[in-house]
């Protein structure tokens, strides 16, 4: 049984290294100003997808991401690790989207791919931490969802069996295909790049990247890996303009603040034995400890 597997992935700003110009005045994120990485849990999802492919030869793993054209970087990264191809859903009109408009746009792209058997993605992205896009795509597609997946145990007889990692334990569920599965960070790490695949696909380029190459390199790229990274726009996926981007987003950012905490009058101590002993005595005396 060969399967059509779609992996949803996101190129995210590395929120551990956020600078001052990270936010635009309208409260949305200025992604161009930040280092961009492969969202960590999407890599966990990719690994699960590749394992399904390993178990079911002839299966196809297609990456789908929405973002700026440079998000093709994570598609190429996924191809180096074993994915077959990918699509960057990119369009100015898709920008400023909240989770609902994002889910709608991605669901439209999934529909365009046709015959998806299983749609995998990370539980959540580190720039928003909402975990909403996966379940919302499932709802838009009218298919079941399995969230917090730690391991896809098997895909057989039109069903997927998944081990879920919950707050206080594990649960194993069986869901009919097609369905959406979101994978948590406690799942196994993604396999590294495969050297042969890197050699084979290093010229894989999106249409935007091809335009930036000189003619010789562009021809080389097209002859080596033609069309394995595609770019789709809103019109191509037949998205309703009122359900995408800023207009399609029910939630609006009212305000953004750099939080200033009410500073206390702190007592400063040095790493000095006498001062630390004094502190301990004080905490014991006022019954904080002891």
């Amino acid at each position: 049984m060969s399967l059509n597997i779609i992996v949803l992935a996101k190129q995210v700003p590395d929120t551990r290294n956020v600078g001052k110009d990270a936010m635009k005045e309208d409260g949305t994120i200025n992604r161009a100003a930040l280092p961009a990485i492969f969202n960590p849990e999407d890599l966990n999802a990719l690994e699960q997808a590749l394992r399904i492919k390993d178990a079911h030869p002839g299966s196809t793993v297609t990456m789908l991401t929405m973002g700026l054209p440079r998000a093709s970087e994570i598609i190429r990264e996924a191809i180096y690790r074993g994915a077959d191809k990918g699509v960057v859903l990119t369009d100015r009109v898709l920008g400023g989207a909240d989770t609902l408009a994002t889910s709608y746009s991605l669901a439209q792209a999934v529909k365009k791919m046709e015959n998806a058997d299983i749609i995998l993605g990370g539980r959540q992205a580190i720039d928003g931490d909402t975990a909403q896009v996966g379940p919302q795509i499932a709802e838009k597609l009218g298919v079941p969802q399995v969230t917090y997946a730690e391991e896809i145990i098997s895909v057989a007889d039109g069903h997927v069996t998944v081990k879920r990692r919950l707050e206080h334990g594990v649960e194993t569920v069986k869901a009919p295909l097609p369905c959406v599965v979101t994978v948590t960070g406690s799942a196994d790490e993604c396999r590294p790049r495969n050297a042969q695949r890197v050699m084979r696909f290093k010229y894989a380029a999106s249409p935007t990247e091809l335009k930036a190459l000189d003619q010789q390199h562009a021809e080389h790229a097209q002859s080596r890996c033609p069309g394995i990274i595609q770019e789709w726009n809103a019109e191509f996926v037949e998205a309703d303009p009122m359900q995408i981007g800023f207009p399609g987003s029910p939630t609006k950012v009212k305000s953004i603040e750099n939080v200033v905490f009410t500073a206390k009058e702190s007592r400063k101590l040095d790493n000095d034995d006498a001062q630390i002993e004094e502190l301990i005595k004080e905490l014991i005396a006022n019954h904080t400890i002891g």
């Binding site: 409260g27 889910s103 709802e139 969230t147 953004i256 702190s266 040095d270």
Partner: protein, 343 residues
């Protein structure tokens, strides 16, 4: 059916034989918001063998309790619970729906919000009612739900509103809001709903084959003393020192997201917006710089001690005591002098 619409409803999570704490916390907050709006506070519980659960919920402020009591509804699966909420909300048109940001709430909320095309904000740290004027259209809205949450890795705090779509939905982590009985002898109106009026047979698509649920052994929420470590602790080995200090003082070990992500301690110990919110009487922050998303989860601690080799670490601003020095030098001294001075 119900004539009054526009109420505030809390999805109360049924955990085998009781309602989850986070749901009671949300009812407590919901009571305040409903009073401000002049509407009823409703609760919905979906599960099996619910008993007289309304007697538990009413004291926290619930005016009305919807009960869906059916063996098919427990343990939780997504589509049947979503179908109840979606179809009920179409009839009762609540203006606000609150849920716990638990595995269940974070699975259910987005499914419901997508179907109803209503906005949903995850992991709010504060909820308020206020007005809003759209900067582009100039249109004014009164009494919207301000959904306030740290965003962007905790570097900023955003206030989110849903001007047009209803219900305004938000999830909140356990421990963020306080749980408080408002009217001990309050009696709630009870409405029993039949599953088959809301859920189609084909909604029961996902089958639970196996479940191993155990109560977590780590309970940092209840610990009176917390020794928390951040990325500045430096290694898993150095965390052992924090465990020794916590054990000596009779406390628990907590951690920042960075320390958890580094694999030094388990996720159950994470404190902050995407972890647990704590209010201990003593919080010892070791090598923690103090990102907003962490501070959001511990700022109500009674006494905060910060140990950091950076005298300008942001967390120092909210600390009662700031010890400038390396964690691995200071922590053994705390242990030594506690042992020396305690009886």
């Amino acid at each position: 059916m119900i004539n009054d619409k526009n109420n505030l409803i809390v999805y109360c999570e049924w955990d085998e034989d009781h309602v989850a704490d986070v749901s009671l916390e949300l009812l407590t907050k919901g009571r305040v918001l409903a009073d401000r709006l002049g509407v009823k506070l409703e609760a919905i519980v979906i599960g099996n063998n619910l008993g007289d659960i309304e007697k538990t919920l009413a004291p926290y402020g619930a005016d009305r309790v919807y009960k869906v009591d059916d063996p098919r509804m427990a343990p939780y699966t997504t589509n049947p619970h979503a179908a109840v909420l979606i179809n009920l909300f179409r009839q009762t048109e609540p203006q606000i729906c609150l849920m716990g940001a638990t595995c269940i709430g974070r699975d259910l909320g987005p499914r419901v919000s997508s179907c109803l095309h209503s906005g949903l904000t995850a992991d709010c740290t504060a909820l308020e009612i206020g007005d809003h004027t759209d900067a582009k259209t100039g249109q004014s809205y009164s009494d919207l739900l301000y959904q306030i949450r740290p965003a962007f890795g905790g570097n900023i705090v955003a206030t989110i509103v849903n001007p047009e779509c209803r219900p305004q939905m938000a999830t909140v982590r356990e421990g963020v809001m306080k749980k408080e009985i408002s009217t001990p002898d309050k009696i709630a109106e009870v409405i029993n709903l039949k599953v088959d009026d809301f859920v189609k047979p084909e909604d029961f698509v996902v089958e639970i084959i196996d479940r191993h649920i155990e109560k977590s052994k780590i309970n940092i929420k209840a610990a009176p003393i917390i020794v928390a470590g951040g990325y500045g602790v430096g290694s898993k080995e150095n965390f052992d020192m924090l465990f020794t200090l916590a054990e000596t003082l009779g406390g628990e070990v907590g951690a920042t997201r960075a320390a958890v992500d580094a694999g030094w301690v388990e996720h159950a110990r994470q404190i902050g917006q995407t972890g647990t919110t704590v209010r201990p009487k003593l919080y010892i922050a070791c090598g923690i710089s103090g990102q907003i998303q962490h501070i959001a989860g511990m700022q109500d601690s009674s006494i905060i001690i910060s140990i950091n080799n950076d005298p300008n670490a942001p967390i120092n601003a909210i600390a009662d005591y700031v010890i400038t020095g390396n964690v691995e030098d200071v922590v053994p001294k705390l242990i030594k002098y506690y042992k020396k001075n305690s009886k």
